[in-house]
């Protein structure tokens, strides 16, 4: 049913449709509305789940680790500092192969303290083994949450999935969103079954200690699961389309890139603004396009290469920076495109929108303009110096 609602409420309704039995979270802006909505749904009897109000994000992640290991579908959400406090547990959840789903309401990281949006928080977990999906708008936010459980719980994957949505821009923005029917979601997402779980009828040891003889193989198995995810994520998106009639999710989405000479690669809500600029440039006769990365981890190297190989000028526009190097997505893209056949002449890196700095259409035009000049690797857009 179509509803005009806030992004956080849309997440709560999508999570409700996935029927989790345990939810645990700790307040932090801009994630808070999501878990407040869920607490209200439970208090109103519209949803049957245990809500555990913990004393920190470290414990929130640990609670849902424990509940997932007991075989109950679970959910948590956080942002920024809360995300960093969780991160020890996040690596652990992935290593224990627990198919949890969480939302990261993307926010900048201290210091300086800043509550506004960028994507530095979730970027810190890119090596954790979590699958990371980035949403462009709130319809995608809803659809990705429902797909996330299906991806995580796939027997060939068994890795946790994080849906990343830009703080405030999406969490606090109201849009018309189609919230799917429960019957369709139940058809798409079967009940959760975990084979290696805490069960008194079949006692197992979870989280064992692995010596040098076994550790590498456990980590290798996670890498294989990530490879499997690259095949399965598009299948899940196809199945989603069959049942819900909507294209959503998958690995990447190209917009007007087929004959493009200049393409910006980006993730999250900024893609919407870039699409508008692309339309304007196209109207002016310029061959511009945008490539949206939906699945950032695992990184869909081959499909990204195929989408970009004939595009001479490429820019990566991102809301995070690996300080001392360049933007993480820029680094990934360079490593994928380097030395491969094609018409690529430059892959420039731009950092934009840190700590909630407004991203204007003009600033995006500037990026397209500067692409015909020399290659840059880490240009901060809109710097106010002096």
């Amino acid at each position: 049913m179509k509803q005009f609602i806030e992004g956080s409420k849309a997440v709560a309704l999508a999570v409700k449709l996935a029927r989790p039995g345990v939810i645990s979270a700790y307040p932090i802006t801009p994630q808070t509305h999501i878990v407040e909505e869920l607490a209200q749904l439970i208090a109103d009897g519209e949803m049957k789940a245990e809500f555990v109000n913990v004393e920190s994000e470290h414990s929130a992640a640990s609670v849902v680790l424990g509940s997932t290991a007991t075989g109950v579908r679970s959910f948590t959400a956080t942002s920024s500092q809360g995300f960093l406090l969780m991160i020890e547990v996040l690596f652990n959840i992935a290593g224990m192969r627990l198919p949890l789903v969480m939302t990261c309401a993307n926010r900048a990281i201290s210091a300086p303290l800043n509550i506004w949006n960028d994507q530095q928080d979730s970027m810190t977990a890119r090596d954790s083994g979590w699958i990371q999906l980035y949403a462009e708008n709130n319809q995608e936010v809803v659809d990705l949450h429902i797909q996330a459980y299906k991806i995580a719980e796939n027997k060939e994957i068994m890795l946790p999935v994080m849906v990343c949505m830009d703080g405030f821009i999406l969490t606090h923005g109201a849009e018309v969103v189609d919230i799917p029917d429960q019957t369709l979601v139940d058809k798409f997402l079967p009940a959760f079954e975990l084979s290696d779980k805490l069960d008194i009828n079949n006692p197992k040891t979870l989280g064992a200690f692995a010596d040098p003889d076994h550790y590498t193989e456990a980590r290798y198995a996670m890498q294989v699961a990530n490879d499997n995810a690259l095949k399965i994520i598009p299948q899940v998106a196809d199945e989603f389309k069959k049942i819900f009639g909507r294209v959503s999710g998958g690995l990447i989405e190209g917009y007007r890139i087929e004959d493009a000479e200049q393409v910006i690669v980006a993730m999250g809500s900024v893609v919407g603004t870039i699409k508008d600029v692309v339309d304007e440039l196209r109207a002016e006769g310029k061959k511009a396009g945008v490539l949206k990365i939906v699945t950032y981890r695992p990184f869909p190297a081959e499909v990204v290469y195929r989408a970009l190989k004939d595009i001479p000028q490429i820019a990566v526009l991102e809301k995070a920076v690996s300080l001392g190097a360049s933007g993480p997505l820029h680094i990934d893209l360079k490593s994928v495109l380097c030395g491969r056949e094609g018409k690529i002449s430059r892959v420039s890196g731009f950092v934009i929108g840190l700590g909630g700095r407004d991203i204007t259409k003009n600033s995006i035009r500037e990026v397209f303009d500067s692409l015909s000049k020399e290659e840059v690797s880490c240009k901060f857009v809109g710097l106010k110096l002096g």
Partner: protein, 297 residues
């Protein structure tokens, strides 16, 4: 082959000979029985009992991190509630003294405050043993550890008394708090049984000697542990529903020196009457505070 006894904690684990924690952990799980799920913090117990691909555990058992067993157990409890299984299954969270009183205290306090139906067991061997005997908040006054060493200038060992964990637990208003000692196995069994019959959060702190860290012969584990109780340095007490309900009375109080000289970690103070006096004062104050001596009418 005849089966001597059935245990849920199989021998063949890799604990040091005479490890008090291994003995106590077996008593706890065997008392709790097969319908128990355990969440274990990182530490000696976890490392020596669950090295892949082997395991000592006959019950469902999970280890996640060093400081989060109380929160993981809270999640297990929430899941069992959701499944309608909570009343049929015991949940135990367990850890060493460091994992309990230091790095895990916040998660533990949260678990107590939220009122989860979980028994938390702290195996108190009075230092971070798994990483090589560093001091923790439960290391006793004067103990020589690798981070409270006896140096050429600073020669005092650990400068602080033990953090009062049973009282911290008690202050959370939880229905059952007890201390126990591996020197008294039947007392451990009784307390675990009693705790598991009570709904809500429970805390049992078991004094477990570590021959390696305390520096005594492995065959003296039970004797050394008993001496801590008999001197008044480790009072065995029970708080139920906000009251001190039981203490193990001492018929004959032994001087602390007997306990101190049984272990290498106190060797540096054996010739220092002043230091011994300070430790005797800790024991005397315990005796007074908990009424450890039967007063004749």
């Amino acid at each position: 082959m005849a089966e001597a006894f059935k245990t849920l904690f199989s021998p063949g684990h890799t604990a040091c000979a005479g490890c008090g924690q291994a003995i106590a952990a077996r008593l706890v799980v065997d008392t709790a029985g097969a319908n128990t799920i355990i969440a274990n913090n990182t530490g000696c117990l976890e490392v020596f009992s669950a090295k892949y691909p082997e395991t000592a555990w006959g019950v469902p058992w999970i280890h996640s991190l060093f400081e989060n067993a109380a929160a993981v157990a809270s999640g297990i409890e929430a899941a069992l509630k959701y499944l309608g299984l909570k009343d049929k299954i015991n949940i135990i969270a367990q850890a060493g003294d460091g994992g309990t009183a230091d790095i895990g205290l916040q998660a533990l306090s949260g678990m107590w405050e939220r009122g989860h139906d979980i028994l938390y067991v702290c195996y108190d061997n009075e230092a971070y043993m798994n990483t090589g005997v560093q001091r923790s908040g439960l290391t006793p006054f004067e103990a020589n550890t690798s981070t409270s060493p006896i140096g050429k200038i600073l020669a005092t060992g650990n400068l602080r008394p033990k953090k009062p964990m049973p009282e911290i637990a008690f202050a959370h208003g939880i229905p059952y708090v007890a201390t126990a000692s591996v020197g008294y196995p039947q007392d451990i069994q009784r307390k675990v049984k009693k705790a598991l019959a009570i709904k809500g959060p429970k805390y049992i702190q078991i004094h477990v000697s570590c021959p390696l860290g305390w520096r005594h012969a492995p065959n003296l584990t039970l004797d050394v542990s008993k001496l801590a109780v008999e001197t008044g340095l480790y009072p065995l007490i029970e708080y139920e529903n906000g009251k001190l309900t039981q203490v193990r009375k001492l018929t004959k109080v032994k001087p602390v020196e007997e306990y101190l000289k049984s272990q290498g970690r106190f060797k540096h103070i054996l010739n220092s009457p002043d230091a011994i006096k300070l430790i005797q004062a800790i024991a005397d104050s315990n005796i007074e505070k908990y009424g450890l001596i039967e007063k004749k009418a």
